[in-house]
């Protein structure tokens, strides 16, 4: 399928447990992610998939466990530190900035890389102005990549669902992440939109070597595009391995048969 070389482990999650009050969302979950791979997290509704992503980039703080990222061990991430370290993500329920245009939403993805201070920006002075134009160029590359030229200046709130999802991916890509976390990137899309999205995900992985961790409901898609799959059920890990292995894992089959939806 692709010629990229899967590298060493860059993210290792060790014995993660997360509770909200008395409710256990995740229980003692461990798995690792290798550089350049597409790693899927699957499981029935309420299995704790989104919570897992939220732990990875620091939106939630796990009560127990460690996150080892590029050899550095820590108890939890901070969202903006995760962003600085090269994590970008999309959300299950689109979390775009509704009041802004597509272009501006994508530009926020580059905020981290913008250095000039607000005074220079207020004066639209040399470096600030140059920087703004330079990053615009980068963002335009993402727009071109995702084929959303025609909606560049449309406020995101007015876009149909499928396009919003694509814009959200664009915002993540604008940050040139090394690890991309995708929370159900194809949920609620029609077949054609799903195909497009699949193509984009594979292209990102292939062209930029981005490591991708993705949650997806569509089993066909997951089995097609991912290198390895983690299966969660009721906050516990019940399977982990290559798609074919996972597909034949009796626990996984039971979990899925038991919770048809």
């Amino acid at each position: 399928m692709s010629t990229r070389a899967i590298g060493d482990v860059i993210l290792d999650l060790q014995n993660i447990s997360l509770r909200f009050g008395g409710v256990k969302a995740l229980t003692d979950i461990s798995f690792d992610v290798r550089e350049h791979e597409i790693r899927a997290i699957i499981g029935p509704n309420g299995a704790g998939k989104s919570s897992m992503l939220n732990v990875i980039n620091g939106v939630y703080r796990p009560q127990e466990g460690n996150i080892v990222f590029r050899g550095e061990k820590r108890h939890n991430m901070e969202p903006h530190k995760a962003a600085e370290a090269g994590f970008a993500r999309t959300f299950q329920n689109i979390a775009l900035f509704k009041g802004m245009s597509v272009l501006d939403n994508l530009m926020t993805g580059r905020n981290l890389k913008m250095r000039s201070n607000f005074l220079l920006q207020a004066l639209w002075w040399g470096p600030a102005r140059r920087e703004e134009l330079e990053h615009r160029r980068k963002v335009e590359e993402v727009i071109d990549f995702l084929e959303i030229e025609h909606i560049r200046k449309t406020p995101v709130g007015r876009l149909p669902y499928g396009l919003q999802k694509r814009v959200e991916l664009g915002r993540a890509l604008a940050a040139e992440p090394s690890i991309l976390l995708l929370d159900e990137p194809m949920a609620g899309m029609n077949v054609e939109e799903k195909q497009d999205m699949c193509r984009f995900i594979l292209d990102v992985n292939d062209q930029f070597g981005t490591t991708i961790i993705l949650i997806e409901h569509d089993m066909g898609v997951v089995m097609d595009i991912s290198d390895r799959v983690v299966v969660l059920d009721y906050g516990r890990k019940i399977g982990d391995g290559a798609p074919d292995e996972v597909k034949n894992n009796p626990d996984v089959i039971a979990a899925y048969l038991g919770t048809q939806h």
């Binding site: 909200f20 989104s50 939220n54 939106v59 959300f91 299950q92 979390a95």
Partner: protein, 304 residues
């Protein structure tokens, strides 16, 4: 020490009044998620209605009933012309709308009823209670005590209303989950109209008590400003919180007013009275930093 206790009790008793106003806030917030800045204006308006009716020659009891009817009509009108049009707007927008509502009432009330300061006589004398004064030497006003009693009664009635009546249960259902309430067939708009009427009733009681004490005047609208820190302290959704918060704020602001200015004057020289104006806020603010959900509020988890 005696002075301290006297000040504290005085403070607690006026705190009851804050609680009363805060209660109106909580009711509306719980049922409709609206932070009603106009509650203070409603207190003023309700009191003016009573006074106005008395001016026109109605006996007090009739005036109170008329005022109550007016408040109910007002509640329905608010729901119909303002809230219903703002469904699904962010809470901040609703909040700002109630600021507008407050201005509207503050402008309309004096046009309807006149803007002079007028007394209202509930027949309760504002004298120290002799028995207490004799035994402990402390000055505790009969009126304050009666007011506290009425407030306590009101809280009890409301508690019963919420627990025992069908409407009350419906109100609680709405507070917990709008969707759920809809699905069991309660028209949300009726609920809101009822809640605003109940809040109007609470405002009426508060207005009468405050008015009887200080005269019915524009300053009554400021009670809303006092109720805000109470809410922060007690939590926006908790009836007990409103009561406890009101007591704490009432007592502490009186104590602060008595004990802090001399200290400041000692440092800087001059007169530092009027601390009451901001002390509850700063206290609430500091409290917020420690416990953002308030004493009785529920901790909220952002789901992503």
């Amino acid at each position: 020490m005696q002075f301290f206790i006297e000040v504290t009790i005085g403070g607690l008793l006026s705190g009851v009044m804050y609680s009363l106003v805060a209660l109106g806030f909580v009711l509306i917030y719980k049922a409709s998620g609206v932070f009603n800045f106009a509650q203070g204006a409603m207190v003023y308006f309700a009191a003016l209605c009573v006074v106005g009716c008395v001016d026109k020659g109605a006996p007090l009891w009739l005036a109170v009933i008329l005022a109550f009817i007016i408040m109910v009509l007002f509640g329905i009108a608010t729901e119909k012309f303002v809230l219903r049009k703002l469904v699904n707007q962010p809470p901040i927008t609703l909040f700002m709308a109630t600021i507008g509502l407050a201005f509207f009432i503050e402008g309309a009330a004096p046009i309807l009823w006149g803007d002079t300061v007028r007394p209202v006589d509930l027949g309760i004398v504002d004298d120290p209670i002799a028995a207490i004064m004799d035994s402990t030497g402390m000055l505790i006003s009969t009126f304050d005590l009666a007011a506290a009693g009425i407030a306590a009664l009101l809280v009890a009635v409301l508690a019963l209303f919420f627990q025992k009546t069908k409407i009350g249960r419906a109100l609680r259902a709405v507070a917990d989950d709008h969707q759920a309430a809809l699905s069991i067939g309660i028209p949300l708009q009726h609920i809101w109209a009822i809640v605003w009427s109940v809040a109007g009733f609470v405002a009426l009681v508060a207005g009468l008590l405050w008015g009887a004490r200080n005269g019915v005047q524009f300053a009554l609208t400021f009670t809303a400003l006092k109720a805000l820190p109470v809410l922060i302290l007690g939590g926006f959704t908790s009836v007990p919180g409103a009561i406890v918060g009101g007591l704490i704020i009432g007592a502490s602001e009186k104590l602060a007013e008595i004990y802090i200015p001399p200290v400041l004057a000692g440092w800087f020289g001059g007169n530092f009275g009027g601390i009451e104006g901001w002390f509850p806020y700063v206290m609430a603010l500091l409290f917020l930093l420690v416990r953002p959900e308030g004493l009785f509020g529920e901790r909220h988890i952002d789901r992503v």
